[in-house]
């Protein structure tokens, strides 16, 4: 089953998604998509690692081509993919990126492989549209992917102040 978790910056969506994944059966895999560009990224990664410590997650770092990492994931696993905002940027803008198609193909490959796939995405669409065309292109791509995943997901949750607002399905 596919779970889509969205929320704004600092909404508590990561922590909520981790708790969700811990309630689901299967080997927990944390699929990290953030490239450690600088100190701030590394600090964020360290904070998320500390948050997951003791919860029996295997961490895999993968910045593009999720379809390529799918064979490394045990059948029936319980995968937490964080986050779609980074993955889309990596696929669209890094030299080895495969574009929007690679994102959806990657999610589909993971879905076939695991029992539960939880995808964390970013709600970055409520601050107006006064952006450069490059940024708007990125936002449109991320929004298309969010909508495609929400259409397929069994459960869609927006996390607000750490609390779930359920848009589709029911929280397990």
């Amino acid at each position: 089953m596919l779970y889509l978790i969205t929320g704004g910056a600092g909404s508590g969506k990561s922590a909520w998604a981790e708790e969700l994944v811990c309630r689901l059966p299967g080997q927990r895999i944390y699929l990290a998509t953030m490239r450690p560009w600088d100190g701030e990224c590394r600090a964020r990664i360290a904070r998320h690692r500390a948050q997951r410590a003791g919860r029996d997650f295997i961490t895999l770092e993968r910045y593009t081509d999720l379809a390529g990492v799918a064979p490394q994931i045990p059948e029936g696993a319980n995968v937490l993919l964080e986050c779609m905002g980074n993955l889309v940027a990596n696929e669209l803008y890094s030299p080895e990126g495969g574009g929007e198609g690679a994102v959806l193909a990657g999610v589909e490959a993971l879905e076939r492989r695991c029992a539960h796939l939880t995808v964390v995405t970013n709600q970055v669409f409520s601050g107006g549209a006064d952006y450069s065309w490059e940024t708007l292109d990125y936002l449109r791509a991320l929004a298309r992917i969010d909508r495609a995943l929400a259409a397929r997901a069994g459960c869609v949750v927006e996390v607000v102040c750490g609390l779930p607002n359920v848009w589709k399905g029911a929280c397990p």
């Binding site: 969205t6 669409f125 409520s126 107006g128 549209a129 936002l139 909508r147 995943l149 927006e158 848009w167």
Partner: protein, 115 residues
Amino acid sequence: MIFVTGPLYAGKREWVRRALGLSGEELTARAVWDVQELAARCEDLPALARELEQKEIVIATEVGGGVVPVDPAERLARERAGRLSCLLAQRARVVVRVCCGLPQVLKGELPCAST
């Protein structure tokens, strides 16, 4: 009047078309969208809300969820957009917020079963 709001590129118009079974032409005839842009240039928001209410479906994009803009005109525009949405929601029979292509009813009931 049905008022539909939600983030940018959330699939608001697409949802309205599917939920009400409208063609693109029917949507154009019966709905008005991007009303947040009308609010930005409007001195009399209650009058604008009354005018928009004549349409069956009114759609606004949420624009007030970012950092307060430095530019005074942009600040005013997003403030007006928010105020207009409040006025429209008060007048609407049904208010729906669309996110990731999915609806959430904030007021009233959906006109048909297709959610």
